[in-house]
Symmetry: C2
Subunit: 139 residues, 2 copies
């Protein structure tokens, strides 16, 4: 299974000039913990996550209705492409303490948002299938 | 493997009267997405998570330095005990959309904090071991 098959290809996103308030409303409406932040060319410029809200907004005096998301998003952001393997994506997320990784095309445009949970669940599916196969072999 | 073996038994916690600001600082210091909230008898009264910050604090006009965590924590909270199986815990978390589940003793006192990631990673370890065993059987 490749990354695009295991991730959310209808990934939530906002534009760089969107307010933090609107970005948070998007996360709440979509029940996700992260949104991709895209520039005017639809390239991924950053990621805005629950962790960013905790770290950069919740204890600041910033007004979420007047702060553009570009000022508090995580950037530069690690990204995956169609060529990235699930193991590589997982290693990046574990090493960098990211729960999400945008998947982009060759022009840096958003194809989907991968979560660490997507990768772990896909790994469980694969192992379960392999175990069923191994056990069904004649001994 | 039981739940206590797979979870963080040095779970982060704060008291119900703690301010939201201090609870957030605890989450940031401990690099966790949730803290257990305990009452004066050290019983778990609720859980305070990144999601609660997003949903109940970030767009409110509340002052995190003047708001007790009990006012914005998630409660009543689902909990696991030593008798809960990993499958039961996972089912509860998936069904309720919780990423964390406190594990408590018979008096409701905190023994550890289980994350959905803990359960998925333990499942991968178990399946990997079972697959190695199945493949090493003589055919």
């Amino acid at each position: 299974m490749n990354l695009l098959e295991m991730c959310d290809t209808d990934a939530a996103f906002v534009r760089v000039e969107t307010t933090v308030e609107q970005a948070i409303r998007t996360m709440l409406d979509r029940h996700v913990g992260a949104v991709a932040v895209i520039d005017e060319d639809r390239r991924v410029a950053g990621v805005f996550t629950e962790r960013d809200v905790l770290r950069r907004l919740s204890l600041s005096r910033r007004d979420p209705g007047a702060t553009p998301v570009r000022e508090v998003m995580t950037t530069p952001v690690e990204m995956a492409t169609r060529a990235t393997t699930p193991s590589e994506a997982l290693a990046t997320m574990v090493e960098r303490h990211y729960r999400h990784l945008p998947i982009v095309d060759d022009d840096g445009r958003l194809l989907g948002m991968l979560s660490i949970r997507n990768v772990l669940e896909a790994r469980i599916d694969t192992l379960t299938r392999q175990l069923d196969e191994a056990r069904s072999l004649p001994h």
